[in-house]
Amino acid sequence: MKGRGPNKGGARHHENNRIYAHPLPLTFSDPSSNRTRPILGLLGLSRSQVINPHCEGYYDASTRSVWVVNQRDSEILWRRGFFGKGNLSRSEPSWFVRQVKDRQIRRVGSNASKMTSEELREKRRADRKQFKLDRAAAIAKVAAEAETIFETEGRVVVPALFGPQIPSGATWKPKTDESEPATDGNSDETEAIVKNTPDIEEALEDMEHLQLTLQEAFFLTWNFDCITILNPDTDEPLSLKDIWTSFQQVFLAPSTSISLTPVLEFDNPFLVHYAAYHHYRSLGWVVKTGLKFCVDYLLYKRGPVFTHAEFAIVVCPVYEDPQDQESSATNIQNASPFTWSWLSTINRANSQVMKTLVLAYVTIPAQCRLSKEILNSPACFAHYSVREVIVRRFIPARMRD
């Protein structure tokens, strides 16, 4: 939903442009003065430096994620490239803000000016429910009128399902006057509760952390070195090599003997998904999880606060050698073609929300052409490839001219 007034929407857009000005956690600074900068620029030189925010996060193998507990770091990673998700929020970590506001409302009884996304969603859902009730009532009213005309006059009037008397999504407006007294009544009650309970607000502590998927964490640490991943047991930073192997090992079946570490495989889900994640990130998309839409990733043009996602990505691994698939112990998802009913399911779910379904095929190198040694470093990514197929329905009746 866009802002109500043009001014408000514009202001919010402007505000978002300021907050989310950087597409990546790295920023640039130029210490040179205004006079020397153009001269250096002419020579293709510049004194500007890359500023690395140096964030920290804990690797959590059981949830297959990296936890960023520091508030400053969470904010940087969210605002510069929309990395991660608050574990108590739907996207941006906003639990603390919501708690503070909640308590303010309980204490003062007034609503703070800016709503968090969770609150907006609740309001939208309530509005939608009310709209459906209103519409149903209007339709029932028209039907009842038609019924009485039929019984008294014998005239047949087909009751309308839409029209001037029945609200539509475009014409329906929430009744603000009626809804407010209701919440007032509630807050009176809660106020009473708050008055009776001892004051615990002072001790409010931010319980939320930002959780990065392994793909996000590896993307940040490998390419930009802007996050240090710590071992939660020892608080010691993990080396890039440790990260590389442990991110793959969480997806492998546990080895039978303790001393033997599991052998790395080409079809590791981490590698396949990372290749797709990295590919779309490198093209400038903001890539977020698409679990709610039956897919692996969603692609946003600038980020979720600016636009809705345009594309819904399903990662489909393709074994270069079909025999590798047969002998594999991994059983990676979506490696075999879908049934048509499943394709229809995900396509329907996504076209309903105005997203285009994309199958991102990631080829898995054949074991017969490469040694497994190459899996010991990210150099193996040179042998994977990503390509996409866009799925849409074809409706001949609409394609006639």
Binding site: K132, G169, R281, W340, C368, P396
Partner: protein
């Protein structure tokens, strides 16, 4: 967004209504001559009831008087429509003979405009009245064409037979035993690669007004569609020369830089900044240097030696021509679409390799055009000439000047052909005519959604047809940074 979701009569109704309207329209178009049903008294004329809106819900007491009344009225309309006799005008009725040995129906009397896009002529040896054998051309129908015509009442069909029948004089040209619709179905399905699924797709497309032919000619006499013009198959066209050069150039650059970087590219630290240079201190540089994972459909898919890939069920079966496309059945132009037909229950979705095989023979699509709602009046004419043509049958001016162009791409929709010829003329003539208005760049999302090439696959599940298109994506071509 909410509006779309909430409206009770959003899309389904429009679609359903559409289908009916289309069916009515196409059969009306094909008859052309005097429609006798229109002269019948209104009561005897079949009226197809329009599908209406769904009632919101039954009233609580169970069907009220008004609801019962409306329901009964709709039911009566349906029975009325079903009771009516199906008739056809004598002027659009054709006659033919089914020859099971060659799986063809030979047409002895061809009438009606429906025959304009159906059938092909084949030289066959026929016995002349004087007993001599003579090779004569005759019109023959494939099984799907025959069933379609028989079912819609446009063809009376006899089965070839040795037995002598006493024929009325009107049927002197046909011999054998008359066939019913059921008989046509049982005898013709299964012949000449025709399955029930394929027939259902064929009939569906025909009813919508498409001209439909086979992609793979079933015999040497079957006319083959003209190949796609070079411009659209991307070899030596003006359109793709630019693209190819730039592709070549960029691949050359990347190769060089890859060779150059191979020693310095550190896979443990892929992104490195200089201390002093200006060029790498921006986000575009960062994103560009992150693009090192091979991507795009130009990367070949490795096939290990001695691997036998299974035979693909995904081969285009039908060629489709949109109703406005000028179509000559003796020399069909390049098709507007090619369609694969599969059974949705027994065939899984195509694999990447199967899709790639289809793309290899498919033409490259032109970038989608922005729709101009209200072109400015002053520039309207010149703009339309270069971008959109209001009349799909009229050829644009540039084409009539260049006959070679008009033969090269008559099948392309007028939009496409005008662009091709526009580009061609731009390349042929040195002083290019100044465009009245610079063409707006197409919407980047529309470009991404359309992709480079397309594969259209009809899936049939017990008579229900659902058609998908799988476009070959090219996200790597136009990144955001």
């Amino acid at each position: 967004m909410d509006d779309n979701l909430e409206k009770p009569t959003a899309e389904l109704k429009a679609e359903a209504g559409d289908d009916l309207a289309e069916e009515d329209q196409s059969s009306g178009d094909e008859d052309q001559g005097l429609d006798w049903t229109k002269l019948m008294p209104k009561a005897a004329r079949p009226v197809i009831p329009k599908r209406g809106d769904k009632e919101y819900e039954p009233s609580k007491k169970g069907g009220s008087g008004l609801q019962q009344h409306i329901l009964q009225r709709s039911r009566n309309a349906m029975f009325e429509a079903l009771r009516a006799d199906r008739t056809i005008s004598n002027k659009s009725l054709s006659y033919g003979t089914w020859h099971p040995s060659i799986a063809r129906v030979s047409v002895t009397v061809a009438r009606g405009t429906v025959m304009g896009t159906i059938g092909h002529s084949v030289p066959r040896e026929t016995v002349m009245p004087n007993g001599n054998l003579k090779t004569q051309k005759r019109l023959e129908l494939l099984p799907e064409e025959a069933i379609y015509l028989i079912e819609r009442g446009s063809l009376l069909c006899w089965k070839e037979s040795e037995m002598e029948y006493l024929n009325e004089c009107i049927f002197e040209s046909v011999s054998g035993s008359p066939m019913t619709v059921q008989q046509a179905y049982t005898e013709m399905i299964g012949k000449e690669d025709l399955t029930m699924d394929r027939y259902q797709v064929y009939a569906y497309l025909k009813r919508l007004g498409y001209a439909v032919t086979r992609t793979k000619p079933p015999s040497i006499f079957y006319p083959t569609a003209a190949p796609y013009p070079l411009s659209s198959t991307a070899s030596f066209s003006p359109l793709s020369i630019v693209g190819r050069i730039s592709a070549l150039f960029s691949s050359w650059i990347s190769k060089i830089s890859f060779l150059f970087l191979r020693n310095t590219f550190n896979w443990w630290r892929p992104l490195q900044f200089s201390n002093w240079f200006k060029k790498d201190k921006n986000y575009a540089f960062i994103f560009r240097s992150l693009r090192f994972i091979p991507s795009g459909n130009k990367v070949p898919i490795y096939i290990p030696p001695e691997t036998k890939l299974p035979l693909s069920p995904y081969e285009p079966f039908f060629n489709l021509y949109k109703p406005p496309t000028p179509f000559r059945k003796s020399a069909p132009p390049p098709p507007d679409y090619q369609m694969v037909v599969v059974n949705a229950r027994t065939t899984p979705m195509p694999s990447l390799r199967e899709l790639t095989a289809i793309y290899d023979n498919a033409p490259e699509l032109l970038p989608p055009q922005r729709r101009v709602r209200n072109p400015p009046q002053a520039q309207g004419v010149s703009y339309k000439k270069s971008a959109t043509n209001p009349n799909p049958n009229a050829l644009p001016d540039t084409q009539s000047q260049k006959p070679d162009q008009s033969t090269a791409s008559p099948s392309q929709s007028s939009e496409k052909s005008s662009i091709i010829s526009g580009l061609a003329s731009w390349f042929h003539r040195k002083p290019a005519p100044p465009p009245a208005k610079p063409q707006r760049k197409p919407n980047p999302f529309a470009v991404l959604r359309q992709g480079k090439k397309t594969a259209i696959i009809a899936t049939v599940d017990a008579g229900t047809i659902n058609i998908f298109r799988f476009a070959q994506g090219a996200f790597e071509v136009d990144p955001w940074f």
